[in-house]
């Protein structure tokens, strides 16, 4: 589904991603862990097409298409979704109106008819229940004055509405208490199927108790330096990232 080959990217001429390789197949859950500043968000941003990054080398194939040549909205149409680490506040635009426009634009991209009012209402009710979100939150300006937990639930709510093929979750757990993590993870797990995939970026192992990964990758200094089964996350939690640094030091020393 997604195939990243030797991806290099810079911001303001500074190289942040330094040769990423990653393959994700339908039905899989991948976790990317790594210390602050490793380049985790940069990877998510480059994949979704945020302006300001320059890809200097490598390629990304998503569903057989050159992902990096598509506009951000086309990537969404192809089925890519990013749950933002810091969701943006937008005054004067209600979440309902925003989501309705997004759903119908994505449907249009996919050659589907727009949802009529009745079908939309049914869909939104179902997803609201899933994410334990109430109507009053949806009528408010998008993310404006939302608590951290509300913002993240709203992100996963949007994911549920858009039904992406690949969802990237950038630190969706950070700043959330355990109840909120449970709601958010439950939402992700309900949407999960053998047809779609999840790339969960996180700092802590805790999220992975709820969203159980098939693979764990350690991103460090712009590269994936180690990959393994879900137990790797536990090892990282236990030993901290220093153990990776030490391991790398040994490798470099040898």
């Amino acid at each position: 589904m997604l195939s990243i080959k030797n991806l290099h990217a810079t911001i303001d001429g500074k190289e942040i991603l330094r040769g990423i390789n990653l393959d994700i197949k339908p039905g899989e859950v991948h976790a990317i862990m790594g210390p602050n500043g490793a380049g985790k968000s940069t990877l998510a941003n480059v994949l979704t097409g945020r302006p300001g990054y320059e890809v200097t080398e490598g390629s990304v194939i998503f569903n057989g298409k050159e992902l990096l040549e598509l506009a951000p909205e086309e990537r969404a149409g192809e089925g890519l979704f990013l749950s933002f680490q810091y969701p943006v506040e937008i005054p004067g635009l209600s979440t309902t109106n925003f989501v309705k426009t997004a759903v119908n634009e994505v449907r249009k991209y996919r050659g589907q008819e727009p949802l009529d009012a009745v079908a939309f209402l049914k869909l939104i009710k179902e997803k609201m229940a899933l994410m334990e979100i109430n109507q009053s939150l949806l009528s408010r300006s998008l993310n404006e004055g939302f608590s951290g937990g509300e913002k993240k639930r709203n992100e996963i709510f949007q994911m549920a509405m858009l039904e992406p093929k690949l969802a990237i979750l950038d630190e969706t757990d950070s700043g959330l208490d355990i109840d909120a993590i449970r709601v958010v993870s439950n939402g992700v797990n309900k949407i999960k199927s053998s047809e779609n995939a999840v790339l969960a970026i996180t700092h802590y192992q805790r999220l992975l108790d709820y969203i159980v990964p098939d693979f764990v990758h350690v991103l460090y200094n712009g590269k994936i330096v180690k990959s393994g089964p879900k137990e790797l996350a536990l090892e990282l939690e236990e030993k901290g990232y220093d153990f990776i640094k030490a391991e790398l030091g040994e490798l470099q020393g040898a």
């Binding site: 097409g49 951000p72 990013l82 937008i90 004067g92 426009t101 997004a102 858009l162």
Partner: protein
């Protein structure tokens, strides 16, 4: 600059023609006009607005025409069937075009009111001159003629909104129109006013409007000013609101089109615990110039004022925002908030913004802030990442920026009317939502 000759001639003519309680008032104002002169860019309050250039030509001051509603039908405000409509033609109140539905709304020619309600008119007419010491305000007073007095009696809530149309008929000649009104809300009275300007014809029009409003205790006023006149139309719109008792006011100014537009909104808080909200939206293109000058004068303790002005400037349009807040020494525990946010949509557009706080009390909460920027890139990417095309995303963001102000218009018909105009201008599809 010196008083133009045509104004002197017109003034002499008016004084000779119409003798009333207001003759002396006009004479005094004309002396002020001579003393102040028409302001040039050298005048501190007119630094960015070349109002003097409007006097490079002569105007007819009053040439009442046989206007009919058919000629105005394109510009009639929605919801008019349920509104009290007051029409000024070239600055003169026109009773035959006007249409009063509410028994609780008293409307009298100003010169009659000057006799019937002598006390009120003597006390309150012309108070704006204390705050606007310039030839433009004096010009209005020097030509007070054909004005109206609007009154709502104690505890009456006027259910039907008041729509005021300032019509300038500039079909054959340049027109100077000076509509003048004094609005008095007695204790616990309620009124909603929507005001708009319409210029007919392709000659130049200059509307110099002054509306002075007085609010007694527990009075409640909502005031909406919708400016969408043609590009040959200039106006100075002065709205002067005195809270003489603990009372509430809300003013929303929406500027969409015109040549040179200057708005003076003065809020004078003369009783404790008053509350005043002021909102503004400019959405401009072409060479339209809109200057919003606001004054909030806190003269008693415990008042709250909240001000939010936003601007979207495209083409070669220019905006000015000047927000003054005075807190007099006695006005402890004043809460005064002010915010001015602007987005420049083109290289040719510009805006000047200046907050001005003069605080003489020590226990007050005041805040002000202004921003001038482009569209928020983060927000744009956020919407695009959800599948919304760049153009729709931009339109949605700009519409959201504007609707934040329009949401304060509680007359739904008027809000919708403005929303349709701005959505069209921003290529925002209202049908999608």
């Amino acid at each position: 600059m010196d008083t133009p000759i045509f104004l002197k001639e017109q003034f002499e003519k008016l004084q000779a023609q119409e003798t009333s309680e207001l003759t002396g008032f006009r004479q005094q104002a004309f002396q002020n006009l001579e003393q102040y002169g028409i302001p040039t860019l050298k005048h501190e309050e007119w630094r960015y607005t070349r109002v003097n250039t409007l006097f490079n030509k002569d105007y007819e001051v009053n040439n009442n025409t046989g206007l009919t509603w058919e000629q105005l039908s394109d510009n009639r405000l929605p919801g008019y069937q349920d509104a009290n409509e007051l029409v000024f033609v070239n600055g003169v109140f026109n009773p035959s075009l006007s249409n009063l539905l509410s028994a609780d709304l008293e409307v009298l020619p100003l010169n009659e009111a000057a006799a019937v309600y002598k006390n009120i008119v003597d006390t309150y007419l012309g108070h704006s001159a204390d705050y606007l010491k310039d030839g433009i305000n004096a010009l209005s007073s020097a030509f007070v003629h054909g004005g109206v007095f609007i009154q709502v009696k104690r505890s009456k809530a006027v259910e039907h909104p008041v729509y005021i149309y300032n019509v300038a008929v500039a079909t054959d000649v340049n027109v100077l129109a000076q509509p003048r009104s004094l609005v008095y809300l007695q204790q616990n009275a309620q009124l909603t006013i929507t005001e708009t300007n319409i210029t007919l014809g392709s000659q130049q029009s200059f509307t110099n409007k002054v509306m002075e409003i007085v609010l007694e205790q527990d009075a409640n006023l909502s005031y909406y000013l919708i400016q969408n006149d043609s590009t040959n139309a200039s106006q100075v719109s002065t709205t002067h609101i005195r809270h003489i008792g603990t009372s509430y006011s809300k003013a929303v100014t929406v500027s969409l089109d015109g040549a040179l537009v200057r708005n003076n909104l003065n809020i004078i808080l003369e009783a404790p615990h008053c509350e005043s909200h002021m909102y503004g939206l400019s959405l401009l293109s072409g060479t339209t110039h809109v200057d919003n000058h606001t004054i909030v004068d806190n003269r008693q303790p415990d008042c709250l004022s909240n001000e939010l002005y936003k601007g979207l400037f495209d083409g070669n349009s220019t905006g000015v925002f000047n927000g003054k807040i005075f807190v007099q020494q006695i006005a402890q525990k004043t809460n005064a908030f002010q915010s001015n946010k602007n987005i420049l949509l083109s290289d040719g557009a510009s805006v000047n913004t200046k907050p001005q706080l003069e605080i003489f009390a020590d226990n007050v909460k005041c805040s002000h802030g202004c921003t001038i920027g482009q569209l928020d890139e983060e927000a744009l990417f956020y919407l695009q990442s959800r599948g919304i095309t760049e153009n729709s995303a931009k339109a949605m963001l700009l519409h959201g920026f504007a609707i934040d102000v329009l949401d304060n218009i509680t007359n739904e018909a008027i809000k919708k009317y403005v929303d349709v105009i701005i959505s069209k201008r921003l290529n925002f599809d209202l049908e999608t939502i």
